[in-house]
Each structure stands twice: as structure tokens, then as C-alpha cells.
């Protein structure tokens, strides 16, 4: 068995009385891309939040390991240290991770200072160039509300990559974007994996994106992981009736 | 979360019970009053509280307890009436402004701005002064600024829902503006504006009592807390009870209604 970067073992999590994530187990090896697919209410976003360590969320059972460290039992403060430097997060709404009315350069400076790094505009510029933003330095002088959603999402990716995390968590990272922009963001994520070997855990409702990106796919329904396997197997020989239905209902171009 | 809501709910119930008691007392004050509040008696001037005269008597030998009870009716009834009328005018004006917009909206809202430019009490004193004394004058004086807060609130809530799909859907069903306002907008903005009305009750009481205290509201001999305090303060060192009891009644009532308004508002905000 290969060495897991992230290992989720029989995880259950809840906001209040009922578990939203129920008894989920899966793992990601370094450089692997795993997509968790599900519809609304399936618990897929909660799974990401459990890994990321949201304070309102209670882990009611099981554990999460990052490398050899059990992170599910860390305090919120200890977890914060790990986030950013080792695990990066790209949220669904890029606006939510930035202050809309502060200059991006100031926000980058603050984030880097928080991780004990000196502000290095050339490095950010280089990162932005890599993900297709040529005017990186000019962009940094803007405030997030002045930029489009696609632009902000790319900057969020750059911000996540700044600390060279070994794992990127993406929560519906493309669903708020236009189709053409979404395609570009998917390509950029694939490039990041190619060039740096970053492992990616992506949660989405979009089976098409999962097929394009994932090495392994998990299907979630009502909090449970009902099917897990490599991408070809999921699409060629799905075992679960619900998986078959999901695949069947994806709109396809009619030639 | 649920615990917090249950706690807030309890607060609302307590506040409602107290407010209801006050309203009941005011309503049945005629029956509850042990003595004629207007009967003067030259032999019983400035008597200290006793079994027959619970709160003592005033300068004219009138029963302070009975006058406080009857005064409750004056204060609470006029407050409710004033808030209700301002509420109605405000919600109608606000809804019309928000729904139709345009020049009428501009004019009415500038008038409202003008009203808000001065402290409410200053406007009220000026207007009540011009209108002369009397409860009616005091109410007009307070109402002239009060409707604006309801109108603003109703307008902003109307603006926020008038572009909801269900309003467009109703228009596509052939409904006129008036029908839409009555069936869709009014019921959906009623709650926040009603809660605002609740929170205004305390302030309005202070306003009415304050104007009466200044001699711009209720005229003698009608019993009203503000005018009672004003009358009795001349001999406060001889008969402090004649000031103390109407003042206590005023404070208690205002605290109860402010508490009610706050409790309901917090309960709603918690949702």
C-alpha cells in the first residue's frame, strides 16, 4: 500500500444533532487528484470543512491523518498553522477569502507575514503568470471587488500556492464561474499538479469536471461515500444505481 | 442555537405578560380606581399614603392612586392610538414610494429627511406650542415626525422585495400595482415594521408625558402622569408621594414596553 498524504478514516462530522458526514473513509497519495462528487445535501462540502477544521463543525467519529499526524484532534489554533503552509484551500466563492475593499497587495503582505514570510512581489507575479495572469503586478494594485470572478479565483489559487502546500482542497472551485473560465481554471489546476506534484482533493457536483481531472472518484449521497474507485471504472462500470443515474443525467452535447 | 432561541422566547413571553397587565390596568382603571380621581376635598389636602388613599392625596385632596390609574388610560391609550396612526400612514406612504418610485418618492422622502434633521422633541415642542395645549395637539406634534421612521422602513423593505420573482410573476398574472401591494408586499413587510412600532411605544410615552409636563399636552384637570408630576413638583418637599408615584408609573411602563420591543426584535433577529 502506498503512503497516504491524507487519510480519512471512518469520519463522521456534524453541526448539531445529526451527522452530515457519516462514516467516510478515503485517502490521497502525494500528487494524486481525488474528486468527491455529490448533489446538494450530500455532505461533500462538509467533508472539506472537516479536513480544513472549521470551528463550528464537530467531528463525532473517526479521524483524519495528514502524513503521520492525526489532525482531527488538533485544536483550531494548531490546525490553523498547518493550513496554508501544508494544506491550501480554494473556496467556491473566491470573494469570501478576500476582503473586497482592500488592495490585494496588502492582503498578500498580511498573509505572508502571518506565515513568517517576507513580502515578495516578484514571486507572486511569477505565480500569477503561471496561471495565466500576465499583468500580475498591476492586478495586485486592485481591490477584489474591481475584478471578475474568474480573475479572483485565479488569484485565490495563486494565494493558495504561495506557501507550496502539499495538498490543495477545492470546494466547488469552478461552479461560480462562467463555462469558458471554468475550463481555464481546471487546466490551471492540472498544470499545478503536473509541475509541483501537489495533491488535489476537489469537491464538485459536476461529473464532467471530475472525469477531466480525477485519478480517483468518490460518490457521496446523504453523507455516505457510496462508491469509490478509479475514474475509468466509475464511468465504465459503475456499481451503484445512484452513480449510474448521476452519470446518465449529465447533459451531453448532441451532435 | 436552539437554547438561545428558547431563552429569547421566554423573555418575549415575560415582556408580553407585563405589558398585558399594564394594558389591562389601563383599560379597567375606571373600575379599579377606589376613589373619584377628579373629586377635590379641602379636608384631605396632601395626605400621606394610607389604607384609604394608597398613594396619598395631592394639593387639591384628590386621590393620587386613582389619578395614576386613570392617567394610565390617558397615556397608554393616546400612545397606542398615535403609534397606530403613524404606523398606518408610514406603511402606506413607504410602500407607495418604494413600489412606484419616481418624483413622488423623491418629494415624500425629502420631507421625511427634513423631519429627521431635527431632534423629535424639538420639533414636537415647536409644533405643540403653535397648536396650543391639549392632548390632540401633542399627538399631532409627535406624529408629524414619527410616521417618517415607519415610512423609511416600509420603503426599504418594499424596495428589497419588489424585484423578487414572485412579484414579477404576479404582474404576469395580470395583477395591478395596488393588488400586488395589498396581497404580496404588505403581508411581507408587515412584520419588521410592526416590530419597529413596538419599539416606538416607550419613546412615544416619554414624548406625551414630556409634553404634558411642559404644559404643552394634557390640560388640567384631566389626569396624565406628566402633568401630574409637573403640578406636584411645586410642593415636592411637603408631599413627595404626589410626584413619586406618577413618576414611578411612567418609568415602569416605559421600561416594560421598551423591554417588550427589544425582546421581540432580538427574538426575530435570532432566526
Amino acid at each position: 500500500m502506498s503512503e497516504y498524504l491524507l487519510k480519512i478514516d471512518r469520519l463522521s462530522a456534524s453541526y448539531g444533532d445529526d451527522d452530515i458526514v457519516k462514516d467516510v473513509s478515503c485517502g490521497i497519495t502525494p500528487g494524486e487528484i481525488v474528486c468527491i462528487v455529490g448533489e446538494s445535501g450530500s455532505g461533500k462540502s462538509t467533508l472539506i470543512k472537516a479536513i480544513h477544521g472549521m470551528s463550528e463543525l464537530r467531528i463525532t467519529g473517526g479521524s483524519i491523518f495528514f502524513g503521520n499526524e492525526e489532525i482531527s484532534s488538533l485544536t483550531v489554533k494548531e490546525r490553523k498553522k498547518l493550513m496554508g503552509s501544508e494544506i491550501g484551500l480554494i473556496p467556491q466563492d473566491p470573494g469570501s477569502s478576500f476582503n473586497p475593499i482592500r488592495k490585494l497587495s496588502a492582503q498578500f503582505r498580511e498573509a505572508m507575514a502571518g506565515h513568517g514570510m517576507a513580502y515578495d512581489e516578484d514571486r507572486i507575479d511569477g505565480l500569477l503568470k503561471k496561471i495565466g495572469l500576465q499583468q500580475g503586478k498591476a492586478v495586485l494594485g486592485n481591490r477584489p471587488f474591481e475584478l471578475s470572478g474568474g480573475m479572483n479565483q485565479r488569484i485565490a489559487i495563486a494565494a493558495a500556492m504561495l506557501f507550496e502546500p502539499r495538498l490543495l482542497l477545492c470546494d466547488e472551485a469552478t461552479s461560480a464561474l462562467d463555462v469558458t473560465t471554468a475550463g481555464a481554471v481546471v487546466d490551471e489546476l492540472l498544470k499545478i499538479r503536473e509541475s509541483r506534484g501537489t495533491a488535489i482533493l476537489l469537491v464538485t457536483h459536476h461529473l464532467g469536471i471530475a472525469r477531466r481531472m480525477a485519478d480517483n472518484i468518490g460518490i457521496m449521497k446523504d453523507g455516505r461515500l457510496i462508491e469509490y474507485g478509479n475514474t475509468e471504472k466509475i464511468f465504465d462500470a459503475p456499481e451503484n444505481e445512484y452513480t449510474r443515474k448521476l452519470i446518465r443525467d449529465v447533459p451531453r452535447l448532441k451532435k | 442555537m436552539k437554547k438561545k432561541k428558547a431563552k429569547l422566547r421566554k423573555r418575549v413571553i415575560i415582556a408580553v405578560v407585563f405589558a398585558a397587565i399594564l394594558v389591562l390596568i389601563a383599560t379597567f382603571s375606571g373600575v379599579l380606581a377606589p376613589n373619584d380621581p377628579y373629586a377635590t376635598n379641602s379636608e384631605l389636602i396632601r395626605q400621606a399614603p394610607s389604607a384609604a388613599y394608597l398613594f396619598g392625596t395631592d394639593n387639591l385632596g384628590r386621590c393620587v392612586f386613582s389619578r395614576v390609574l386613570i392617567g394610565a388610560r390617558t397615556t397608554i391609550a393616546s400612545t397606542f392610538f398615535l403609534v397606530a396612526v403613524s404606523f398606518l400612514i408610514g406603511i402606506v406612504v413607504g410602500m407607495l414610494c418604494g413600489f412606484y418610485g419616481g418624483i413622488v418618492d423623491d418629494i415624500l422622502m425629502r420631507i421625511a429627511d427634513l423631519m429627521l434633521a431635527f431632534p423629535q422633541m424639538v420639533v414636537a415642542i415647536a409644533v405643540a406650542g403653535i397648536l396650543g395645549g391639549g392632548l390632540g395637539g401633542a399627538m399631532i406634534a409627535l406624529g408629524i415626525t414619527m410616521w417618517t421612521s415607519f415610512a423609511r422602513l416600509a420603503r426599504s423593505h418594499t424596495l428589497s422585495i419588489k424585484n423578487e420573482p414572485y412579484i414579477t410573476a404576479a404582474r404576469l398574472q395580470g395583477k395591478s400595482g395596488l393588488q400586488i401591494m395589498m396581497t404580496h408586499i404588505m403581508p411581507n413587510i408587515l412584520e419588521p415594521v410592526l416590530i419597529n412600532a413596538l419599539t416606538q411605544i416607550g419613546t412615544t410615552m416619554i414624548g406625551i408625558s414630556g409634553l404634558s409636563f411642559l404644559g404643552l399636552g394634557v390640560v388640567a384637570p384631566q389626569a396624565e402622569w406628566g402633568s401630574m408630576i409637573s403640578e406636584a413638583r411645586a410642593y415636592i418637599q411637603i408631599a413627595p408621594w404626589a410626584v413619586l408615584f406618577p413618576a414611578a408609573a411612567t418609568v415602569i411602563t416605559i421600561v416594560v414596553f421598551n423591554y417588550l420591543g427589544d425582546a421581540v426584535m432580538e427574538y426575530r433577529n435570532a432566526e
Binding site: 463555462v179 471554468a182 452519470i247 452535447l253 | 404576479a170 404582474r171 398574472q173 395580470g174
Partner: protein, 242 residues
């Protein structure tokens, strides 16, 4: 037969020094019993076009016709007789304080039997009529708004991103329903969406819009297989499907 058409529609919004032109010389035609797809990304003007067609907004210039008769400038109170809209926000299309039954009865004087028939046709049951919107699922709510549109006997349904807030499986059901009622009730449908794959599955014709201009227009098969504009090609390339 052409049931709805527009000629040279223009719309401009001026906001201080910036101006946006979501409609520039747009023509369209909707034939009886047809499903017309309008595809574009955000800011393409597709939603503005739908608002202009429905009369919710007036075009700056250009003309609109229903069965050959001009209706330019008529508000939704009048256009509602021959067209109805289904919105992206299914929950928001119903008054949160009203039961479904009251909402459905609002614009039509149909008997209860007829209401029940239509409810059945959109795949819902009588028991849901007493509920308020928040006690329905997104899919049920969207079916209800289709039922409401059917009850008003309008010949045209304007659908604005009606499935983009729904789950994939629910989306498939609602789209199937649209096709069924088109066949059964002989209505014509305009379907606005950002999802080219979805539109290609059910539309007879497709219009592609970008920055307020119609860049491609034709039979679905033709637009998909031999797009006439670069933008359509780019959209086709961006379709991520399974």
C-alpha cells in the same frame, strides 16, 4: 408559424460614465411548438433579452410582435396573457407567505379539477398544494411554477436558467418535463442557459449571444457541428462533459 418575434432590439444601461449595451440589434423568432435556446455567459445579454421579450423591461428601440401584432412597450400585466416566465430562483417565484394553492389560483379562475389535472401533469401531487414554498424541494417548486404558467393558458414559456440552481438529477427531470408539456400542450418555449450541452439536448434552434450581440443562430445540429463564429467554437471547446 411564428408566434413571437423581435426586430432590431436595442438596450443600453448608462451608469455614470460607464455604459453597458446588453442588446445590440438583436432579432429573434420563435415558432409555434418550438424550443429556442439562448446561450451565453454572464454579461452576454441573454437574461436582458428575456426581460425585454416579457415586457418587464422596455427596449430602447426595436419592435416586438406576438402573432404578427406589435406589443412593444406593453408591461407584464398585458403580456402575461400570452407569455409566462419561469425563473432561476424557484423558491423566490412564490410568495413565501402563501400556500401553493393560493399562488396557483392567483391568476386563473380554473376549477379545482383543472388545477389537479395540471399538478398531475407536472408530476406533483395534491398533497403539496397546501404547502408554502420553503416546504418544497427546489425541483418541486420549479414544477409548481411550470404548473402556474400552464394554468394561465399562455402559449409561450420563457425560462431563465431554470435548472442552474438544481441538482443534476433534478435538472434532468425538469428538462424532460419541459419537453413533455411542449408536446402535450403545444406551447412554445424560450430556454435561456449558460449550459450549451443542456441546450443542445432539447432545443430545436440555438442562438448564441456575446456582449449583447447574436453571434450564432440556427438549427441546433448546425450550430453544434458547424458553428459560424469563433466564440461558439470556444464555447463548444469549453463544454466539460462525461
Amino acid at each position: 408559424m411564428t408566434i413571437l418575434s423581435g426586430k432590431d432590439l436595442n438596450k443600453e444601461y448608462v451608469n455614470r460614465d460607464r455604459s453597458v449595451r446588453p442588446l445590440q440589434h438583436v432579432d429573434f423568432e420563435l415558432n409555434q411548438g418550438e424550443i429556442l435556446g439562448i446561450v451565453g455567459e454572464s454579461g452576454s445579454g441573454k437574461s436582458t433579452l428575456l426581460k425585454v421579450i416579457s415586457g418587464i423591461e422596455k427596449p430602447d428601440s426595436g419592435k416586438l410582435y406576438h402573432m404578427g401584432k406589435e406589443y412593444t412597450g406593453q408591461g407584464p400585466e398585458k403580456t402575461g396573457k400570452f407569455l409566462q416566465m419561469i425563473f432561476q430562483d424557484a423558491y423566490g417565484s412564490f410568495d413565501p407567505r402563501m400556500s401553493m394553492e393560493r399562488s396557483l389560483k392567483e391568476g386563473s379562475d380554473e376549477s379545482r379539477e383543472e388545477i389537479l389535472r395540471v399538478i398531475g401533469e407536472v408530476g406533483l401531487t395534491e398533497g403539496l398544494l397546501g404547502r408554502r414554498p420553503r416546504h418544497l424541494s427546489g425541483g418541486q417548486c420549479q414544477r409548481m411554477s411550470i404548473a402556474r404558467a400552464l394554468l394561465s393558458h399562455a402559449g409561450v414559456l420563457l425560462c431563465d436558467e431554470i435548472t442552474s440552481a438544481l441538482d443534476v438529477t433534478t435538472q434532468a427531470q425538469v428538462i424532460k418535463l419541459l419537453m413533455e408539456i411542449r408536446d402535450k400542450e403545444r406551447i412554445s418555449i424560450v430556454l435561456v442557459s449558460h449550459d450549451l450541452a443542456l441546450v443542445s439536448m432539447i432545443c430545436d434552434r440555438i442562438m448564441v449571444m456575446k456582449d449583447g450581440i447574436v453571434v450564432d443562430n440556427g438549427e441546433t445540429a448546425k450550430v453544434i457541428s458547424e458553428p459560424s463564429s469563433d466564440y461558439t467554437r470556444k464555447l463548444l471547446e469549453s463544454v466539460i462533459t462525461v
